[in-house]
């Protein structure tokens, strides 16, 4: 009975941890600073990133890939190439208003896979679409900006005390995606441009998965 109580308590605690967080307002003096911090986590200008990706799939299965991503924030354009460690390209997808699969090897060639991939990359690299509806602090004192991205969804950008950040996407107030960014201090280029050395994306739901992205290379794209 005691064990059941502990389990129930842990379940409640787990659920409560991922429920829609309350945002406490701040004085107007701090608003701009928080909003600038929230905007600052998304890269400015055109960038090319290479990541080593460790995916944890349902059933605790692991998959490893290399991801090459070009982002053009102003145009909301993304070019994503996924390949095996040995260099075989399994997906080459371009997003510029719509998704075009330049090359795909099954099962990566599917529209759904490409759509999911582009959606995850947009969450990681692009400032949320829609209007900012709240700015303030969390229960633990961290800064939060909340954006209404569509009728059903919101995105929270949470700035931690060490300047790292978390991005959370909610649908119907339920947490769907979390991106945790870990900043590195090894390179001026990365530090100055707030390019995370490592990121972890957790997708919740029936076919949940997690992606651990380790940065291999980051370079601004020349004109």
């Amino acid at each position: 009975m005691r064990r059941i109580c502990i389990l129930s308590f842990l379940s409640i605690l787990t659920v409560s941890c991922i429920t829609y967080p309350m945002i406490s307002p701040v004085k107007s003096l701090g608003l701009t600073e928080i909003q600038d911090k929230c905007t600052g986590v998304f890269p400015i200008g055109k960038w090319l990133f290479v990541h080593f990706i460790e995916a944890t799939l349902p059933g605790e299965k692991k998959a490893f890939m290399m991801g090459v991503t070009q982002i053009y924030p102003e145009k909301k354009k993304i070019h994503s190439i996924m390949m095996t460690i040995e260099g075989l390209v399994v997906l080459d997808a371009l997003y510029e208003g719509k998704i075009v699969i330049n090359r795909g090897i099954p099962p990566f060639a599917s529209d759904n896979f490409a759509k999911g991939l582009i959606s995850d990359l947009q969450l990681i690299f692009f400032h949320p679409e829609g209007r900012r509806i709240e700015t303030g602090v969390s229960d633990t004192g961290e800064w939060i900006c909340r954006y209404q991205t569509d009728e059903e969804s919101t995105v929270d950008v949470v700035i931690h005390f060490d300047n790292s950040w978390t991005i959370r996407r909610y649908s119907h107030r339920r947490l769907r995606r979390t991106v945790q960014a870990y900043l590195g201090h090894d390179s001026d280029l990365l530090y100055k441009n707030k390019i995370p050395e490592r990121m972890e994306l957790i997708a919740r739901g029936g076919h949940g998965y997690s992606l651990n992205l380790k940065l291999v290379k980051a370079e601004p794209i020349a004109e």
Binding site: L48, V50, F52, E54, A55, L57, K61, K62, A63, F64, M65, M66, V68, Q70, H79, I81, M83, T84, I85, E86, G87, L88, V89, V90, D92, N102, R103, I105, P107, F108, N212, V216, K217, E219
Partner: protein, 201 residues
């Protein structure tokens, strides 16, 4: 008369210069004598969107007929094992070396099966490719079917002067992407333990 003599001299000279890489059958015969291969490799991934290629390095071990250990040492550690028809890959992740169970390994089987055939000199054994020996010891493999060509456009192998050794391999996927493997420090017929193809350490 002088012209006939010249032709005869030229033919004799050509015969004397015939190396191990003059016919596909000759290559297969020479490669068939090999008991094992150990070599270091450098992999260059060329993509149109990359200003410089992505470089990976590693070592491979091969033992006929189909045992292969293809191990990356940088930038990440990854070990691919082929033995008794089984293909497994282990990659150093957050929790140490873990088995890869992703779908991308299925895609890689196309290339992996090729590698063990090349190392035996059996360039014509894969029903999916046509093999042609070109001048300068270059073998070009082109897919027979259009559907296969959508995955790999062509493969070019440059053979070394030393019998049984491949110097470079270029795998062209399309006009925007190819992978180049360069082999060095090649050691032939060195005794290799079976465990090398079955265990990760």
């Amino acid at each position: 008369m002088a012209r006939s003599l010249s032709i005869i001299i030229l033919l004799i000279a050509s015969y004397l210069c015939l190396g191990w890489a003059d016919t596909l059958v000759g290559i297969q015969d020479k490669a068939g004598e090999i008991k094992s291969v150990t070599a270091n490799f450098i992999q260059e991934k060329h993509l149109k969107i990359l200003s410089k290629p992505l470089i990976s390095k590693g070592i491979f071990y091969y033992q006929p007929p189909q045992s292969l250990r293809w191990e990356y040492t940088s930038p990440f550690r990854s070990i691919l094992l082929i033995h008794n028809g089984n293909i497994n890959r282990y990659i150093k992740g957050n929790d140490g070396l873990v088995k890869d169970s992703g779908a991308e390994l299925q895609s890689m089987q196309i290339v992996l099966k090729e590698i063990t055939l090349w190392l035996r000199g059996r360039f014509n054994d894969n029903p999916n490719f046509n093999a042609v020996l070109e001048p300068a010891s270059k073998i070009v493999l082109t897919p027979k079917e259009k559907s296969f060509a959508a995955i790999i456009q062509r493969i070019e192998l440059m053979l070394s002067d030393q019998p049984g050794i491949i110097e470079t391999v270029r795998i062209y996927e399309n006009d925007n992407s190819y992978t180049k493997f360069m082999f060095n420090n090649v050691r032939l017929n060195k005794p290799l333990k079976d465990a090398l193809f079955q265990e990760v350490r």
